[in-house]
């Protein structure tokens, strides 16, 4: 079940990123403005904050596939359910290693994420000053 409007209004509205699975676009130490009022998974390519199904970790990843899409998983294919999204890291193992992080953890590890796991959509980076700008919707680089 998705969070109530009151809970969503309480945020978070700003988050700080740790670890490197979204490198090189979003780096550890980035401060981001997010929209916690989002209740449905945004379009493919958008970046979201969500609760990981395993362990409740608050995490950031990019929407790679949505309800009804087929994704490759565990040597076969998986069709996503009505409110599910498939979330992927931008960084591969080498890009994550370049910022001193281990291999990225994403839906290949924890599977699809239901809409109740969605916390916010990422909109804008406001720190560091030299990299201020909109977090654009795009395909994995």
């Amino acid at each position: 079940m998705s969070r109530s409007l009151g809970a969503r209004l309480r945020g978070p509205w700003r988050v700080a990123v740790i670890e490197g699975s979204m490198a090189p676009g979003i780096l550890p130490g980035d401060w981001l403005i997010v929209n916690p009022l989002a209740v449905r998974w945004p379009a493919r390519g958008a970046v979201v904050v969500f609760r990981e199904p395993l362990g409740d970790t608050l995490a950031i990843k990019r929407v790679a596939a949505r309800a009804g899409d087929q994704v490759q998983f565990a040597g076969g294919y998986l069709t996503l359910g009505p409110d599910e999204a498939w979330l992927e890291a931008d960084a591969d193992e080498k890009a994550a290693a370049a910022v001193d992080s281990g291999p990225p953890i994403d839906s290949q590890r924890f599977g699809p994420v239901g809409a109740d796991g969605l916390v916010a959509r990422v909109l804008f980076r406001y720190w560091p000053a030299r990299r201020i700008g909109r977090i654009s919707r795009r395909r994995k680089p």
Binding site: P12, I18, G20, P104
Partner: protein, 146 residues
């Protein structure tokens, strides 16, 4: 007067999100590549000393696997342990890894013991580069028997 630090403190988010990754163990050691390359060396020796076709076929297959492991361990060192600042101490770093990986390919295709020996020498050069950049102190767990 409001300081920049006070402004940053005010602006800093209270919530952190993880661009979640596995923990890098931080163990990088050329010995892993050296052991697999020694396997290749010994397999080439055993191959030369045995005429049995089945034995020789198996030796070639195992050498292929071990050589792949050498490449993997070299690549992990090259991509993950060594950083741009290490080029100051080891200016030929990229050439060295290129040569070593090329030599692994040669060992895969060859049953000449000289090729396997040359690979060991190149891995020893990688080991020297690793030591020159503090790899021994930085990545090996203290107390390991020598």
């Amino acid at each position: 007067m409001v300081s920049i630090n006070a402004v940053l403190r005010f602006l800093s988010p209270r919530v952190t999100v993880r661009a979640h990754c596995d923990l890098p163990c931080g163990i990088y050691d050329p010995e892993q590549a050296r052991i697999e390359a020694e396997s290749c060396y010994k397999i080439v020796e055993k191959y030369a000393a045995n005429d049995d076709v089945a034995y020789r076929t198996r030796a070639i297959a195992i050498k292929e696997q071990r050589a792949d492991l050498v490449k993997h361990h070299l690549d992990v060192l090259w991509h993950d342990y060594f950083k741009p600042e290490h080029l100051e101490k080891v200016p030929n770093l990229h050439d060295l890894f290129w040569q070593a990986n090329k030599q692994v390919s040669k060992v895969k295709a060859s049953t000449d013991i000289a090729d396997a020996k040359r690979l060991l020498e190149l891995i020893d050069e990688v080991d020297a580069a690793w030591k020159a950049t503090g790899g021994l102190e930085k990545t090996r767990v203290a107390g390991r028997p020598s």
